[in-house]
């Protein structure tokens, strides 16, 4: 079967108004500090965010992110003696970093609103009174 190819997306210009799904954002966060393979991404998301990504969800999101140019396959691989050569490693692209930053800023704005409406406690330490 032919491999579907999407239009090229310039890595420096992520699609404007792109709304990242939860799985995509978690994957971008996991890749923010370095390249990882699928199982590495899944473990990090599970450990840090207590979110479980199944193989279908993980690779479905990876496929879409590759098409959008948010992540890329890493060319550098660990030592073959230390790693399974069947694994594919993924890295964040500049477009992916920009999209993750934009999404984080959006979420930060939502958290600020939640604080303003007293749905969340104020994180600033209370100053001594009197």
């Amino acid at each position: 079967m032919p491999k579907p190819q999407m239009p090229d997306t310039t890595p420096q210009n992520p699609p404007s108004g792109l709304h990242l799904g939860t799985a995509m954002f978690h994957i971008l966060l996991a890749l923010a500090d370095g390249q990882k393979h699928g199982y590495g991404i899944m473990r990090e998301v599970e450990q840090r965010h207590a979110v479980s990504l199944g193989p279908g969800t993980l690779y479905g999101a990876i496929k879409r992110m590759l098409e959008l140019g948010l992540i890329g396959e890493a060319e550098e691989r660990p030592d073959p003696m230390l790693d399974d050569q069947r694994r594919r490693y993924y890295r964040l692209t500049p477009a992916g970093r920009a999209a993750a930053s934009a999404e984080a800023a959006r979420l930060e704005g939502l958290v600020r609103q939640a604080r303003a409406k007293r749905l969340l406690p104020d994180p600033r330490p209370e100053t001594s009174r009197g």
């Binding site: 579907p4 190819q5 199982y39 899944m42 199944g54 193989p55 690779y59 479905g60 496929k63 694994r87």
Partner: protein, 213 residues
């Protein structure tokens, strides 16, 4: 029971079978990776909590598979590029329908001497033979195959298969494009039949052996 003896191997095998539900293109690209990831999850779950953890993992895996299989199939059908290519394929098939029907019916009637009174060629040809409509009739029959070939070539461009004019068939073979190859074979068959027909029809005229051509 094999499952009881080696639940990890049995689970991995069963998951590989479940992957058959995904669209072929997705399966080819990501199937081995998904299978490997599930095997890693199986090992981790087995180490963490034995059969109970495996059962939990299977529950999550089934939900994950069902939702993503539906999503991938929907995604595949809503891809505008693929829809465009399907339209071009359908157009190529439609262009070939009329001349191919004519050729098959004529072969049956004149080659195998079967009686087909409703053969459109039999009904139309006497009407148009000595009129200007004959050229339209000929054009529909003769140009259909090259037009269909052009549509197949446009489809390859649409799919970004980077075809070259001389490598049209090789690209299709490499991509395992059975429908495209079938239509291509039909085009070539049609062109060959038309060629033979016109040679048979006109050569005697050219050689001066027939008077009314």
């Amino acid at each position: 029971m094999r499952l009881a003896r080696n639940p990890l191997a049995a689970s991995a095998r069963l998951y590989r079978r479940l992957l058959l539900l995904y669209p072929a293109s997705h399966r080819t690209e990501y199937g081995p990776l998904m299978s490997q990831l599930f095997e890693d999850q199986l090992q981790a779950a087995w180490g963490r909590g034995g059969r109970r953890a495996l059962a939990k993992l299977w529950g999550r895996a089934l939900l994950d598979t069902v939702s993503n299989v539906i999503l991938e199939h929907l995604d595949r059908w809503s891809d505008p590029m693929r829809n465009g290519s399907r339209l071009l394929l359908a157009a190529a098939a439609a262009v070939l329908v009329v001349p191919f029907t004519f050729v098959v019916l004529n072969l049956l009637q004149y080659g195998l001497h079967l009686s087909i009174p409703w053969n459109p060629h039999e009904l139309l040809w006497p009407q148009v033979r000595f009129t200007v409509w004959r050229y339209l009739y000929d054009a529909v029959i003769v140009l259909s195959a090259p037009v269909a070939l052009g549509l197949l070539f446009a489809r390859q461009l649409q799919l970004r298969w980077r075809p070259q004019a001389d490598a049209l068939i090789w690209v299709m073979i490499r991509k395992g494009d059975r429908i495209g190859l079938g239509l291509m074979a039909l085009c070539l068959l049609l062109m060959a039949t038309m060629g033979l027909y016109f040679i048979g029809e006109n050569l005697p005229c050219i050689l001066g052996q027939r008077i009314a051509c």
